[in-house]
Amino acid sequence: MGNFRTELGVGLFMLAGLACLFYLAVSLGDFQPFGSARYPLEARFVSSSGLKPGAFVEVGGVRVGRVTAIELDPETYESRVHLELDPEVRLQEDAIASIRTEGIIGDKFIKITPGGSDAILAPGDTMFETESSISLEELISKYIFESDN
């Protein structure tokens, strides 16, 4: 029966190891083997400074999605931010996407304020109502130089 116990031990070890690997990849690493149920949206910002792929998207303080990619539009020099949102979250056409900071030195995230329009954004649509990142340095320098005058 020695051979059977070896097989059982190896089987248990491999099950435990694969379970750990699966937990790391799926639960922590956002790896989705079966495809994501979330739907894509795009938002255009004058500046998305400090925002990173993987940043979360909030509506009313609840996390409903994340940023998948950020790229520059070479024609308008705007930042095109690709988002993915949970399917049950339906946003109006005039919903406002703003880039906010978690605390003072925390990570940037996107806060979405619902709008009042009847038209609902379909998957792949673009949000044009946006507020760019607020740069603390710019605010401070503005305050210093304006008070000089």
């Binding site: 070896t6 190896v10 070890f13 190891g17 790391l24 956002d30």
Partner: protein, 261 residues
């Protein structure tokens, strides 16, 4: 001598030694493409390398997770940022500590044993005896060890990570009263797919380094610049293999981090 036609001896230089290890891997590679040839041998090696390392990996992972959480808590609490504890623990574990420490533990527990086993077989001419029976020692002795190590080390690393996260949770949430939700959400927010990929790549590379150097040192013991025979030779070769494998793992760790960050 049944060494795949490799030649060494007293005139061997370090460069020739490196080339010999390269040829050793090249001679072995075709056997790694047919991993189902000896399921029984692979299973026995998996039991030795993987299943029986679980306890030491779990204990080490738990304590490493706990001490990392303790150290980071002491620093983060000064900045009022203990909410970041989960992120700090998981990133240090997944990117660096788990792959490296698992590799070092496996070198100590398994690599030394494999090197000594190969060395004694070489020293007793058992490898030549295999060849007399027309059994290729590369396929029969070495391939199962390579395959089992390449499977077991990534799984052990994943286990180290998860137990370490549990250890960090114990110190952060149970001892220091951080919210459990904050610990796990900071963790999920900070880890990207890239970090998990780095963890897996590192553990696979380390597995190859461990089994390559440790079995190679023992198997090619008689070809070294100072040819090793008998008990003293096996002891010296095993020491050299453990040192070389540990240094190579740390060196490879730096290279992979530099490439993937």
């Amino acid at each position: 001598m049944s060494d795949g036609g490799l030649r060494g001896g007293p005139l061997s230089t370090p460069v020739a030694g490196l080339g010999r290890f390269g040829l050793y891997l090249a001679l072995l590679a075709p056997h790694l493409l047919r991993p189902w040839r000896q399921p029984g041998a692979v299973l026995r090696q998996l039991h030795f390398i993987g299943a029986r390392s679980v306890t030491v990996i779990a204990v080490a992972g738990g304590f490493v997770g706990m001490v990392v959480a303790l150290q980071f808590h002491d620093t983060l609490v000064r900045f009022g940022a203990v909410g970041m504890l989960g992120a700090a623990v998981v990133l240090s574990l997944i990117r660096e500590l788990a792959p490296v420490l698992t590799a070092l533990i496996v070198i100590g527990r398994v690599g030394s044993a494999m090197c000594a086993e190969m060395g004694i077989m070489r020293s007793d001419n058992q490898v030549d005896a295999l060849e007399c029976m027309a059994i290729d020692p590369y396929g029969y002795l070495l391939a199962p060890r390579f395959i089992a190590t390449l499977i077991a080390v990534p799984l052990l690393t994943a286990l180290f990570n998860v137990v370490g996260i549990g250890g960090g949770w114990f110190v952060g949430v149970v001892m220091f009263d951080i919210s459990g939700g904050a610990y796990f959400s900071a963790m999920a927010d900070s880890v990207l797919g890239r970090d998990v990929a780095m963890d897996v790549v590192k553990s696979l590379v380390f597995a190859l380094v461990i089994v390559w150097i440790c079995t190679g040192k023992g198997f090619l013991m008689h070809l070294a610049a100072r040819p090793a025979f008998g008990a003293e030779g096996v002891s010296r070769t095993t020491t050299e293999a453990v040192v070389a494998a540990s240094i190579t793992v740390l060196f490879a760790d730096y290279i992979i981090s530099a490439l993937m960050l």
